[in-house]
């Protein structure tokens, strides 16, 4: 399965998105990396690193993120890790996490999941 990591400035947002995703696909490997170790708002290199490592499967890892330093800190984690295919997903955090979890649990490959997340951002809710 493809691993899924949710990176947010807020621990609650990351964990909440994970919770929603797992409700749809309880077996999907989803890790949350939100906030700073002291509970504050921000993104933490070590937390993201550990989250990525916890769902590092041969099929690769997809990272969903909220904004700004979430992208840059994740890119630094990608630079620091060898041997794992880690891709940033361009799409909405919450809907993307659900789509990714369901798709991963169904055995979809990395490119397919990335496309599904992009698609989630292009479809309208209303």
């Amino acid at each position: 399965m493809v691993g899924i990591v949710i990176v947010s400035h807020s621990q609650k947002v990351a964990e909440g998105a994970r919770e929603l995703a797992l409700q749809m696909a309880a077996n999907a490997p989803v890790a949350a990396a939100g906030g700073l170790p002291d509970g504050g708002i921000g993104t933490d290199f070590e937390r993201i690193l550990e989250a990525v490592q916890s769902v590092s499967f041969p099929e690769g890892v997809v990272v969903l993120f909220d904004m700004g330093s979430a992208i840059m800190t994740t890119e630094m984690v990608i630079d620091a890790l060898d041997g794992v295919e880690i891709r940033l997903a361009d799409g909405p955090l919450v809907e993307g996490a659900i789509v990714a979890a369901v798709s991963s649990a169904m055995g979809m490959d990395l490119e397919g999941i990335l496309a599904a997340i992009r698609n989630a951002g292009e479809s309208h809710k209303l």
């Binding site: 700073l36 921000g42 993104t43 290199f45 070590e46 904004m67 700004g68 840059m72 800190t73």
Partner: protein
């Protein structure tokens, strides 16, 4: 010329100037960002200072690489990966050197600028730290052949001027970009913190 001991002394002064300006930097970040620039940098540079005693016998490259990695791990905001990248790129230039010359500093600053541009997918004119970094580098390069103090003074003046110019810019990067034209009239916190850090180097040579 600066050796590891000189740079350790300057890094301590960088921490002092960030701690002194912590509230000021956070105030600048309030209208256009997430009000954490001062707090984040203060936490990062405090962590850097705590690492310094173990680095006295290391080369300049190792010192700067450790500074960069510490900032990445502790800052928590966008300035962490950006300053972290800047120091780590400068470290590559200084790798294995026990001291660095003015020429080395220019190569280090140039590498840092390129690193920040790539990491932030940004360039000048977007109300970011690059609007102080790039003018400082270009002013120093333009003074090639002048005395060290003239080169550093030109760099600092250009960085300060760059900070002023960020007030006339509309942010297209970072959290401020959500504000669109409302970012006009505000001095960029990242350009300001870079200029504070740079002023420590410039002061040392002028």
């Amino acid at each position: 010329m600066a050796n590891t001991a000189d740079l350790i002394a300057m890094l301590k002064e960088m921490n002092d100037i960030i701690q002194e300006n912590k509230d000021f930097l956070t105030e600048l970040d309030m209208p256009i960002g997430d009000s954490d620039h001062g707090i984040n940098l203060a936490r990062g540079f405090q962590a850097v200072v705590e690492k310094l005693p173990g680095l006295a016998d290391k080369d300049v490259g190792t010192l700067l690489k450790t500074v960069g990695m510490t900032l990445v791990s502790t800052v928590g905001g966008a300035s962490g990966p950006l300053y972290g990248t800047a120091f780590m790129k400068a470290a590559v230039v200084a790798n294995g050197k026990d001291q660095v010359t003015l020429e080395d500093f220019l190569s280090m600053l140039s590498a840092a600028v390129e690193g920040v541009k790539l990491r932030g997918k940004s360039t000048t004119g977007e109300q970011t730290m690059l609007d102080a970094m790039v003018p400082a580098l270009e002013a120093m390069q333009a003074k090639a052949g002048a005395s060290s103090s003239e080169v550093w003074a030109a760099g600092l003046a250009a960085a300060q001027e760059g900070v002023e110019k960020t007030k006339d810019m509309i942010a297209t990067k970072g959290r401020a970009s959500y504000l669109g034209e409302r970012s006009l009239g505000h001095q960029d916190p990242g350009a300001t913190s870079f200029t504070l850090l740079f002023s420590v180097l410039a002061k040392h040579y002028t």
